[in-house]
């Protein structure tokens, strides 16, 4: 057999690369070598990559090529490179959630999602940077350093899955696993011009996801397009006996979405005008293709961010209690137990994580619990009911992902309220447990990416992804790549 003439183009989707592999235009080994080269150079340059697994990845690629030669490929992802966010446990390498307190932590075990993807032939090539314990919207709280936005390296890539989205926004061929608790896959996807999908809560097992806000967390794919996200979801999703909250899925017949509601609050005064215009234009393109566009208001959305801050921090304060310097977590030598706890936790956690633990501890405390935590749960019920009601009148909601464009590194990091404002349009999906898909929909005047999101009813994940795929056939925003760092 003659050697293949070249590697796929840098913007090629996983689906396109799969066809290259199928037609023997390149081998998995060549693909993985090329992708490792990208990770080691551009990936590290922008701070998106924490570690790579060249030996294991090359061995896995060789095995994939052998399977293909024997006609025994494991599916469409066989031989495709992927990375996992630092808060997702992997057998290889470290899984420290980008926190000093877990520095060097080896889980020795793949998260269920990672295990399923590897069993389908996908090749784990490295770990991606993120905000510490996924707390942040700018990837500036990581113990591994800041990640730069590939479209403008002076700006943030968004967060917390900033590394994963920056990789997906810079290069094709691969997909990346991140997580989304309040927008952590969608907002960086929008900032980096990638496609990111947050599934229905419980659709993907959380086993192996280092918990932040358990009732909100989901493992998510971020990739070049909606179809790639769908392929990845299909492998990851479904009941896992190791996660009692993971869903048992019925066979879903994917009814194409025909009616979409623009969420009026997504176009208010707090939203950047260019972003609002771009998303409205996208709605117009959908209408041109025969999708009925209506406009609806989401009740209680103005309370969503406060509600989210209370619930996410309450759960985080408990989830992060295990990093106490006794069992898991760096131990600072101390004269007694109390100071062991205090110094280990004070030195191990960064200031944003400490802030959220303190806030979460406060909202659960006797005397404040009713006013904050209990009330936030009641508001959460209202938000869920509100979104469910609107989704009875349409198949999906359309709104921007972020109210503003990627901002300069350092601009908001000392202003938590300004940083939390990133989440105002994303947290509702987590509070309601509904799926949400972030899609690139253009660029502003400064050439910075703009993202829009579709939200659907719980369980309509594949319908949303199907609409995303259709829309991406009509448009080519998702094909754009930033200059520099050629593969």
């Amino acid at each position: 057999m003659s050697s293949p003439p070249s590697l796929p183009p840098r913007d090629a989707t996983v689906g396109e690369v799969t066809r290259w592999l199928g037609e023997h235009r390149c081998s998995a080994r060549q693909l993985i070598d090329g992708y490792l080269d990208f990770l080691e150079h551009l990936g590290r340059e922008i701070g998106a990559v924490v570690e790579t697994f060249p030996e294991q990845a090359r061995a896995a690629a060789d095995q994939s090529d052998q399977r293909r030669a024997a006609g025994e490929i494991l599916g469409p992802l066989d031989g495709i490179p992927f990375t996992a966010k630092m808060n997702i446990t992997t057998e290889q390498g470290t899984s420290d959630a980008s926190s000093s307190i877990l520095k060097g932590f080896r889980a020795h075990e793949d998260a269920t999602a990672v295990r399923r993807l590897r069993a389908a032939g996908a090749v784990l090539t490295g770990k991606s940077n993120c905000d510490e314990f996924a707390m942040g919207a700018s990837n500036e709280t990581s113990c591994h350093g800041v990640v730069s936005n590939p479209w403008d390296r002076s700006r943030v890539p968004g967060g917390s899955s900033g590394g994963a989205a920056a990789l997906a926004g810079s290069h094709g061929w691969a997909f990346h696993l991140g997580s989304d608790t309040g927008g952590s896959i969608r907002q960086p996807a929008a900032f980096c011009s990638a496609t990111g999908f947050k599934p229905t809560w419980g659709r993907v097992s959380r086993r192996g996801l280092i918990a932040f806000g358990s009732s909100l967390d989901q493992i998510c794919p971020v990739a070049r397009d909606s179809e790639d996200c769908r392929q990845v979801l299909q492998v990851m999703e479904g009941h896992d006996p190791l996660d009692a909250t993971s869903l048992t899925l019925d066979d879903e017949t994917v009814q194409p979405i025909s009616r979409v509601a623009l969420v009026s609050e997504g176009f208010g005064p707090a939203i950047d005008e260019q972003i609002a215009t771009a998303v409205q234009a996208a709605a117009g393109q959908m209408a041109d293709q025969g999708i009925e566009i209506i406009e609806r208001s989401l009740p209680h959305i103005e309370a969503a961010n406060a509600c989210y801050q209370v619930i996410a921090t309450a759960e985080a304060s408990s989830n992060l209690a295990r990093y106490d310097g006794v069992h898991v977590g760096a131990r600072e030598s101390s004269k007694d137990l109390q100071s062991l706890y205090e110094t280990s936790r004070h030195r191990g956690f960064g200031s944003e994580v400490r802030r959220r633990i303190l806030l979460g501890t406060f909202v659960l405390s006797a005397g404040y619990r009713e006013a904050y935590y209990t009330r936030a749960q009641a508001v959460r019920d209202l938000i869920r009911e509100g979104i469910d009601q609107v989704l009875e009148e349409c198949d999906a909601l359309l709104l921007p992902v972020s109210p503003f464009a990627p901002f300069p590194i350092g601009e908001r990091i000392d202003d938590p309220i300004a940083l939390y404002a990133c989440d105002i349009l994303t947290v509702i999906a987590n509070l309601a447990g509904v799926p949400a898909l972030a899609l690139p929909c253009g660029f502003d005047a400064s050439g910075l990416p703009i993202g829009m999101q579709l939200m659907g009813a719980r369980g309509s994940d594949h319908r949303l992804l199907e609409l995303g795929s259709r829309w991406q056939q009509w448009t080519d925003h998702h094909r754009a790549l930033p200059d520099g760092g050629a593969a």
Partner: protein, 476 residues
Amino acid sequence: MTWQTVVGLEIHAQMSTETKMFCACVRETGAEANHNICPVCTGWPGALPVLNAEAVRRAIRAAISLGCQIQPESRFDRKNYFYPDLPKGYQISQFYRPYALGGEIHFPREDGTDAVLPLVRIHMEEDAGKSIHADDQTSRIDLNRCSSPLLEIVTEPLPMSGVEAANCVRSTREILRWIGVSDADMEKGNLRADVNVSVRPTGSDPLGTRTELKNLNSFVSIQRSVEVESARQIQVLEAGGVIRQETRLWHQEDEVTEEMRGKEDSPDYRYFPDPDLPVVIIELTDIERERSSLPETPASRRVRLVEQLQIAPREAESILARREFGDFFDAMMAAGLSAASASNWFRGEVLRHLNELELNLDDYPLTAESIAAVVKSVEEDRISVAKGREILQQSIADGRSPTEILAGTSEQVSDESTLMAWVQGVLESHPDVVDKIRAGDARLMGFLTGQVMQASKGAANPRKVQQILQRLIQQS
């Protein structure tokens, strides 16, 4: 003024499931330290709890047996606090919505009358690990016990003495053991109690301020701590003082209680629903399935033994002492013995063996069926009672089954003419003894029987020998 002591209990019982509450680790006591642990029970990043269905089944059995209302929906919450033997930094427990409400414990008063202690609730929770504080200023942590399944039984307050408080825990232990939910062994730490004690003037209605004594692990400590603490409270009150609501430590050796922390210092556990665990749904069919597989209660077994099987109440009590005793007795009857002989042989032989060998019935080498086979041989006159006992003893000693030994044993001779020859020979050799018996010394009958048994080399049926001896001596 006289005072009345009021006691409320929180009884923690470890359920005897194969595995732990939320993971597949083996639940066993006494393993090498940190041997039975996994990412879930040690709270490793990324690990999630999954509820053990067997623990729920056992919890349902306990709730049925204690007469609780089982809740169709219950939930697990997180109780947050820092301690080195609590690796997650929280304990998973049912705080807001326990699976069982109400119920009662029947217990004997000191005067022997029956009394009822109402329950508030029972909830499921996981245990913490163990901290071992060594003399060299180090502390070691053993997480084997961590996440073992517990039931916490919370009672209402009721006037009672220290002895009666211990009786309540004893009654609870008996029930949990009887239904196979817990080994409930205080020495092994799988049954512990917290005791709430208050005193009030006799005849007064409102409860006094209570203090809590935690982690009592013997019946003596329950009894004595209630007695000592109520005496302390009375002394304080009579001296014009007030009781503070607080948690106190019980020192068993010195028999004193000591202040540990006041109510205002009690930790804020910041309970909230555990988002990792779905609502626990218990259907009526789940409850019915457990109910139908519950063993006969001690009370209904007592009625069956005494009224139906006509066993004397005192004899019945020794069979009722433990559930497995009654089960063994039933198995002996199922193997064909009458109630009377099953009772005689169980009490006379089986219990004696257990006593002598210091064994639990679980470790007893003989089966009810093989004992029944031996007893039947006795009842059919093929072997003597003494021979039957000897076979059982021998089987225990050398490990051969009683039926095997039985097969190698020659049947005793019951044939009238053969026996007659042996008896006559003995009577002729001992005319003086015959005379003495006729003169009224009946004890010598045993001597003559022994002589006949010797003459037959042990083969004669001793009962028949006695009959013939009696007949011949009286005749002539």
